[in-house]
Symmetry: C2
């Protein structure tokens, strides 16, 4: 149960979403879950290796990602278009990179793999690990999203 992983990912998410989309988000209470799954309409996933092996996922409802990306682009977007998929890839890369820089400042060095973006209404993501998964819910005012982190 690597609680020292929580803050770097939480702070990176708040910082990247605020910088890129000018959206103030509120982090809910992080919790440790086991054996359950995330459901959403679009997700970004990125593997990490180094001192340990891990994975991070970001899972958005359509309402939530359209709100964030509308703010990023300064125009109203209501569907999961190609641009929205690209934006989720970019957000995944930036949040993972920012979190890994914060971890490195704490002496934990991880390298990021090539991220993937998954689309499909109500898809589910599960991390293939027996370890507990750290889940951080975020509230944007227009739909919620979740970030999950697991490490070996």
């Amino acid at each position: 149960m690597k609680v020292e992983l929580i803050n770097p990912f939480l702070e990176a998410t708040v910082s990247v979403i605020k910088t890129m989309a000018f959206v103030d988000i509120q982090a809910g209470q992080p919790f440790i879950k086991k054996g359950t799954v995330s459901r959403g309409d679009i997700s970004g996933v990125v593997g990490m290796t180094g001192e340990t092996e891990g994975s991070m996922s970001l899972t958005f409802s359509q309402e939530c990602i359209c709100h964030i990306v509308s703010n990023m682009f300064g125009e109203r977007i209501s569907d999961i278009t190609e641009e929205v998929k690209d934006a989720v890839g970019e957000l995944t890369n930036m949040i993972s990179g920012d979190a890994r820089r914060r971890l490195e400042a704490n002496g934990i060095r991880l390298a990021g793999a090539i991220p993937s973006v998954i689309c499909g209404p109500g898809h589910e993501i599960r991390h293939v690990t027996k370890e507990p998964i750290i889940s951080i819910p975020f509230v944007t005012g227009k739909g919620d999203f979740t970030i999950e982190i697991c490490v070996k």
Copy 2:
């Protein structure tokens, strides 16, 4: 365009599916694609880092994975159950591990991250990279599946 990556993943896939599920599969012609996506009903994704960064995905139709898992378990399975999702995680781990061992024998060392399993009818996966993606289609006799590999 890392063509030396193709054979280790192709051979690992054939070997793992044959060993685990006693299913003879035929590899189609590998091809390099750019900018397109994979669609399926269940996928396994795993990131890789080391000398380079990469990602591998396995994407199955429901018919195909049910055929493979029915053979693995020796009982008829027609839905994407919890056991099927676990089996896709295990196959993703085994194929990625076997391929990385074959790559290491060729002097290319990569570490595997924690894999993810994605479920959802007709979901799509895209790798967040500007590099070409190697796609290898496989035919099982009862539905097809695809493995994709990308590296920086």
